[in-house]
Subunit: 200 residues, 2 copies
């Protein structure tokens, strides 16, 4: 039986760590890189190593950062009386692009999703609580309006209110099932403006 070179086999199996990449895609990618873009492959190899070594999480907002405290959290020009909870860094960037919010952030880096093995313990909820108590401010929940995002929002709201923290949720001006990352800035700004108190 003929076999591929072992370093090629290893590359194909290593590419499987990328989300959404199965055996056929991995093979196609490996062939493409070795046949047409060795320069790109080396650049990707270097970037992966460099990112893994230098990207960590901001001690305050939990966003990706190369410093202990990210530039947003250490900036003196943000308001300290609002803490906005988002699922992913891309959501934070969308919030900033909407230019509707000048407060602090907390990035969950995920959402409650039992089917993917992400329960409450897998999210940094202790740190979120500590951060909210530290700022003693209103917390705005800006998780997605998907089933998982809503569950996450509900869970966090319950936890924070049990600790006497005021919680609000961005308005459902977003379409049901919509995701922050893909919405237009005007809609997002409106949703922040019309956030409602969580009373129950």
């Amino acid at each position: 039986m003929i076999k591929s070179p072992s370093s090629l086999e290893e590359l194909i199996s290593a590419l499987r760590c990328l989300p959404g990449v199965g055996p056929k895609s991995a093979q196609r990618m490996a062939y493409h890189l070795l046949q047409r873009d060795r320069q790109g492959a080396l650049h990707l190899s270097h970037s992966l190593k460099h990112a893994v070594e230098s990207v960590k999480h901001c001690a305050k907002c939990n966003n990706f950062s190369e410093e202990d405290i990210c530039s947003l959290c250490s900036s003196g020009r943000r308001e300290n009386d609002l803490l906005c909870v988002v699922e992913m860094p891309a959501d934070l960037l969308m919030m900033e692009q909407a230019q509707c919010y000048r407060g602090m952030y907390f990035v969950l880096m995920g959402r409650l999703s039992p089917l993917d093995g992400v329960g409450a313990r897998e999210l940094p909820l202790e740190r979120l609580l500590k951060r909210a108590q530290e700022l003693s401010c209103e917390v705005i929940l800006a998780t997605n309006f998907t089933v998982e995002g809503e569950a996450t929002s509900h869970y966090i709201a319950t936890m924070l209110r049990a600790n006497g923290i005021k919680v609000s949720r961005i308005a459902r001006g977003l379409p049901v099932g919509g995701e922050l990352e893909y919405v237009d800035s005007g809609t997002l700004a409106q949703a922040v403006l019309e956030r409602r108190a969580v009373t129950e």
Copy 2:
């Protein structure tokens, strides 16, 4: 304006070298690796570097190989009077799995595809011709039965026959175990057109 860490931005842009990966997928992949699979990312980084450094092309069949001459070409147990031309290494593996062929191979590592910028000059046709003349044997064209594969096959057949080399094409028709009722009309029409005499 808030910005992502530069090493994260660099990783996202480096991931774009993978075929079929756009800006959104690259972002999703980068987040996934940094958040959930740093081990996998380091392994991928290493595998990319190792593969680029050690995988080259066999001097005879042009397949990927870590040696100058791959194990198939250097094996003494292959027949020297047949040369089978395939598009990609995956096609060679399929041929081997079918256990129907004991001759040599030549892997084009692509196909004529002007829309993707692959013309006759981008394929190693000179080397194929040299190899065929060296073996002075029959060449079996086993490129795909797609538009590009057919064009490639036609081009190579013309070139080889102009140099006095015997050329054949693998048969087209109904699959083994196939039923007329379920086969597409193009295949059936071709099978009728290319019918062969029943000689006993």
